[in-house]
């Protein structure tokens, strides 16, 4: 980095601080960028936080922390490569930390299944509605019974992440993601076929 530059220009670079106006414009630009990403990813990240078993207030707080961390990350001029993957990775880590602090269990309560049941799709007729709700409950039960990593892979894929991004978020190899998703989908197919 610095060794590629002649000594005089290195010296100048270290002393050349941006003007107050430049700094302020830079911070405002980053702030605007963070707010745009918040608008785009707040709901997917919140859903992912909830799927990890966090109560809604904790999940909201985690998301706030994620975007504050993003601001610091961008402000320090760090990598902008794949910010979506970055956001999910930080959410995953903070949610794990929060869950540990709360001593909450990975197991969802029976109440959650009840909530899902209460919000059945209103458009079809009563019989179809019941059948759709039963199918949904069956799939949710299958997902809850999966190992945590399989569940996370599936949820992240449902939020649109590519295999490479999922691998980075969960610290797995690309092949392991592929095998995990195949295994999970085979279970879902079996449950659907019943």
């Amino acid at each position: 980095m610095g060794t590629d530059m002649p000594p005089s220009s290195y010296e100048n670079a270290s002393l050349a601080v941006p003007s107050r106006v430049q700094r302020s414009a830079n911070a405002s630009r980053i702030e605007g960028e963070v707010m745009e990403l918040f608008d785009e990813f707040r709901n997917p990240l919140l859903r992912y936080g909830l799927s990890m078993g966090l109560p809604i207030h904790d999940a909201e707080e985690v998301i706030q922390e994620v975007f504050l961390a993003l601001f610091r990350h961008l402000h320090l001029g760090r990598s902008r490569k794949n910010l979506r993957g970055w956001l999910f990775r930080v959410t995953h880590n903070l949610a794990l930390k929060q869950r540990l602090a709360n001593h909450t269990s990975l197991q969802r309560t029976a109440g959650d299944a009840k909530v899902a049941e209460e919000h059945a799709d209103p458009s079809p007729g009563p019989e179809e509605q019941l059948s759709a709700a039963q199918r949904r409950n069956r799939l949710q039960a299958v997902v809850q019974a999966m190992p945590a990593n399989d569940r996370h892979c599936l949820r992240l894929r449902a939020e649109g992440l590519r295999y490479r991004e999922i691998a980075t978020v969960l610290g797995m190899s690309l092949g392991a993601v592929s095998i995990s998703l195949t295994r999970s989908l085979a279970r879902l197919v079996r449950a659907d076929g019943r």
Partner: protein
Amino acid sequence: MVHKDTDPSRYHISDEELVRSADGELSPQRAAEVDAHLEACWECRARMEEIQTSIAGFVRAHHAEFDTQLPSSAGPRALLRARLAELNSESRIEWWGRVFQFGVPRVAFVCLALIAMAIGILWFEHAPQRRASFLFDAEAAPNRSLTPGVARQVTISEVCSVPQEEVIGDVPLPLREKVLQEYGIANARPDDYEIDYLIAPRLGGTEDIRNLWPEPYRTRVWNAHVKDALEERLHEMVCSGQLDLSTAQHDIATDWIAAYKKYFHTNKPLPLRS
């Protein structure tokens, strides 16, 4: 594993490759081979359809499970904006740290710091009134680890049907003393602090020590009277259907000053109604 042969009678595509094909995760060449095979093989096509159906079913179940729990993003958005503004001002302070590191001689900086400290001490020593006021200002927000805010299960109709005077009772003296003790405040006069509910009872807040904190009356800006005005405003908004009760509880518990700025659309307290 690469299969050159697309004759369906000779081999079938593995489930893993079908999933990767559905997800667009195969190399272009292998994806073309799989597509050609699927055209010719009913069995693989049927399995592919089962996989796609289960994916669609799972995505619907995933959304149905969580979407109904997602509150509006307006409150969290405003809170994030306020926190970013705060971070921005902190980052300016960090920038001064960098200037120090790169250019300004340290000795001169230390001298300046000592002079500033001496002026500060003199200012404090000779103005006890100002010092008290400054300390009170620092206490305008509760310590979140001591006072995270606690609310009971309550319906909108309960919240909106009970008049203010029936909701607010005086905090019992032993509890008041316990709160002051928890905050390390000794010998407080009754007119120094209001033992206030972080989430107001009229918004479902409870008389729990985790929902009570000593709020100074004498802060210059963000004092108990200003917070009372915020509680009034949130109550009005909740009861007129402009705001979710849970959002009101969350916002006031997280940072009541930010909530005031957000719901009164101002950066400083408005003049209090007489």
